[in-house]
């Protein structure tokens, strides 16, 4: 397997692209030895981050979402970027069942945190948000040795 690999995709903030983005990341992630439940976790986290960019970042108006993913040293990194409205209080936004939209659950960040190894959010008001997540396969098969 290659030492490192990456993808970078841009798409308009259309609801239809949420399914596309999680399928894309899952297919890319399959280059590592993730189990099916782990791929489900990656799909879910990606779906949440992209949905947030569309719903909250661009408030369902037109915008461009950038999706980057890379594999380095056996670790998958997924980054979702929008140039939308930004998050005022990131710590508050991450809290369980916190939402600024009535009718939503407030679970997106909770899933991202629970399903990935790490979650990092950068945001500034009026400029946009980037969400970076990493994950490595739990059942790591050492490249050398017999374990």
């Amino acid at each position: 397997m290659a030492e490192s690999n990456y993808i970078k995709v841009e798409f308009p903030s259309l609801p239809e692209n949420v399914g596309f983005s999680r399928a894309l990341v899952s297919a890319f992630a399959s280059q590592l030895d993730f189990t099916l439940p782990e791929l489900d976790e990656i799909r879910t986290a990606t779906s949440e981050a992209v949905s947030n960019a569309i719903i909250h970042g661009y408030e369902n108006a037109q915008g461009v979402v950038t999706l980057e993913a890379d594999i380095k040293g056996g670790v998958l990194t997924v980054k979702i970027i929008d140039q939308g409205k930004g998050i005022e209080d990131i710590a508050a936004a991450k809290a369980v069942q916190y939402t600024t939209r009535p009718g939503r659950y407030g679970l997106g960040f909770t899933f991202m945190e629970a399903f990935m190894d790490s979650l990092h959010v950068e945001s500034s008001l009026g400029e946009g948000t980037s969400v970076t997540m990493t994950k490595h396969p739990e059942t790591v098969r050492p490249e050398t040795g017999t374990a």
Binding site: P15, D40, T44, S51, G103, R104, Y105, F111
Partner: protein, 118 residues
């Protein structure tokens, strides 16, 4: 998303097909609510989810909303045959404690539950 919803007695049985996210959450909400508005006698809703490999928070919000509507009527929401992913997110969200989850569902189960045509 393909949704086949039918009224059977005091229940709606909806067979859904496709991944449930923000692209089709409104469609599912509308197709259930339309029947709930149409028939005040409906108490329970059964969502048959064999063919729903994926649900995210947008989909869970629709399920929670329908659960609450049915609760007001003294009824309940049932999720039949959720995928492993759907089960996992329902558990994490706490939704699995509110809705009824039916594994190994088959249509004959409806009669056993006292849901009959008429």
């Amino acid at each position: 998303m393909i949704i086949n919803a039918e009224k059977i007695g005091t229940a709606i049985v909806a067979r859904i097909q496709g991944e449930l996210d923000m692209a089709n959450a409104d469609q599912l909400r509308a197709s259930i609510d339309e029947k709930l508005d149409q028939y005040e006698t409906i108490r329970d809703v059964y969502l048959i989810c064999d063919a729903v490999p994926f649900i995210d928070s947008s989909g869970l919000a629709v399920l929670l909303g329908r659960y609450r509507k049915l609760e007001e009527r003294g009824g309940k929401l049932f999720i039949a045959n959720p995928s492993p992913q759907a089960r996992r997110v329902m558990e994490l969200s706490g939704l699995s404690k509110l809705v009824g989850i039916c594994d190994n569902w088959n249509p004959a189960d409806l009669q056993q539950r006292g849901v009959t045509n008429g």
